[in-house]
Point group: C2
Amino acid sequence: MSAVDVKAYKGHVVFTPQFGRYEIIENGYIVVEGGKVKGVYQDLPAAYANLEVIDYGDKLIIPGFVDLHFHAPQFVNRGLGLDKELIPWLETYTFPEESKYKDLAYAKKAYQNVVRELWKQGTTRCVLFATIHKDATIKLMELLDKAGLAAYVGKVNMDRNAPDILIETTEDSLRDTEEFLKETVDKYEKVKPIITPRFVPTCSPELMRGLSELARKYNVPIQSHLSENRSEVAWVKELHPECPNYASVYEQFQLFGQQPTVMAHCIYLTDEEIELMARNKVYVAHSPHSNNNLSSGISPIRKLIKAGVPVGLASDISGGHDVSIPSVMVAAAQVSKLKWVEDSANGDPLSTAELFYLATKGGGSFFGKVGSFEEGYEFDALVIDDSSLADVNPRTIEERLQRFIYIGDDRNIVARYVAGKKIEEPQF
Amino acid sequence: MSAVDVKAYKGHVVFTPQFGRYEIIENGYIVVEGGKVKGVYQDLPAAYANLEVIDYGDKLIIPGFVDLHFHAPQFVNRGLGLDKELIPWLETYTFPEESKYKDLAYAKKAYQNVVRELWKQGTTRCVLFATIHKDATIKLMELLDKAGLAAYVGKVNMDRNAPDILIETTEDSLRDTEEFLKETVDKYEKVKPIITPRFVPTCSPELMRGLSELARKYNVPIQSHLSENRSEVAWVKELHPECPNYASVYEQFQLFGQQPTVMAHCIYLTDEEIELMARNKVYVAHSPHSNNNLSSGISPIRKLIKAGVPVGLASDISGGHDVSIPSVMVAAAQVSKLKWVEDSANGDPLSTAELFYLATKGGGSFFGKVGSFEEGYEFDALVIDDSSLADVNPRTIEERLQRFIYIGDDRNIVARYVAGKKIEEPQF
């Protein structure tokens, strides 16, 4: 064995190097060196003749799924309370649950289930909200690391317009965040901290300014929510009459792309906001299940992509009920079609190949070279055994992938890799 | 043992006697006599002291799911070709597949998978389209009967605007249909024929007139499609300029409630059409996955229900990709919310309790006393073991049901009954 681990994986290789364009190598090989893709080949080059080949036979090998927005403490609330809109839903279900995470034993039990489900559904990378509680947030990171998953995890900040059980003083919020950053920024290889103002209404200007400074000081990315719901947009307007729009509130505090930034939802954006996002390369975490479940609306994804805004997909647990990114892809296809029905000027519906890109390389690029099998990309991969979905007719590789997305589930995922390492079901 | 089989089933009993109102009996009993519900009790009455009790412990007992619209031959196409609209999708995927069912061996193989999946997903009653092929349609009925499922199954009719491989002469279409009716009308206890003009564009006036006569002669119900898509509505207008609207074409041929009738989709209805449906008690088979997948639009279900139109849910395989009725419920909730976002005058979104009614008693009433546990109802039931969905918090029975609907799947269905008979996985 050489100093650097080199292996080849054989199977039907599918990925999307560009938005909407599949690269398909039937019975192909992926050579992985030191956790990174060296190349993808129809036939193994002579130089690799003696390489160990992991042969997945008639199975598909695809990039792992990326989830750009997921509230880990709300995992237990999946499927509950979905007869409400955003603000009453937050007050009735979300905040009371999140307050429990000051209890580290509770947090550990609940977060183990989150990590197990991420593993199960083939989400190899994710960007997570935790709660305001520093210790519970670090516990979540420890569990993710133990499971071998890659993630950004944020300790949430809120110092205004939050219930008593969850509100922090500005001072405590900033102090806890800096302690959190110090403790975690170099602790785990693939699990990293992210600055997490919950959203404008719950963060005072002082807090947003302080968080922005911490993001730069520790060189970490930023996540938050933007323009999910009409009454939320109106509320932000009331709180910040000095700003022309919602996005510009984050922008004035340098929380909008000055460090890599991802914003959940982005439904009711003005053209100025879209332009700003494109200019600052602020990511959209598109979460159609959540936007539907909470009666929020349909995000104009085609328009955002055309404008140059980077987009990935998100479950948004527990506004969204389903951790499965293929399920999110189906919902994203459906709402893009309804948007087109409403007015065809909104642009064509999103195709499966376009959605596959968003689910892999689109969101993956927030982590660097992730979500593709091009040279130099980290080898995050899923092996799909779709034999249970086979029908009486022969199908192309593209059709088999589409069927897995629409009618498959976790039972069809038979192996998972993160940065070249095979990860097994978490044992805790 | 008495001449009539009497048994009690114990568990957490949930059903919806009225639209939107749960009846929940925690640790309750359902007494079933001769396949029909005798009563539901918190404590077993003294008269039943010696009754055999099937104890399902902490599990939920709910009515079986009803699917009012499902194209059996399209089952193999689930998840394929969903980047197209209705008419091109029909031409590219649907018609070529349906033409294969002239081969009885092919039909048998494909239909076995359909029946197995219906069983697996807990769909105890369904209304199915087959193809134009009489023998294959009878084969499907035979397989359903063997599995113990209840269904209406239709031999499809089309004598115009259909591809050569699937078109019938009017004469052949009517003759085959009458032979089909004669052979099946009394053959199976719970699997019955239904008159099935595909939709107005593919059925000549002579054919529609003849089918209407057959429906009355053999006293069988009717199914078809109505107002799925704007270009389809325009096409019908062109074909029948003498009629004020799409529904009135069916009405003029007495195919619109003169016998019990169910119409799939019903998206772009005029107020006159809605009034006619309410007056004639024509059912809507609401299939939101299909309406989304094929870029058709959102059916105004709240408005239809308020107007007095009977409504049930439908997978509409393979416009819809998912056989699971709980998955259809979630999609129906989501689109009702998007309709509300578009204009709150469309009425409140559909609640989970309302959707549960549509999925059981709403659609079930097309079969008679089906879909509830009220006295005299046929005992169609599912036993739900939701222990895999449990979280770290205690949950009410209503919350447990809602979680099963949103995040459960076929793995949580551990027993299935149709008309009092326990049905096991089909062995073929």
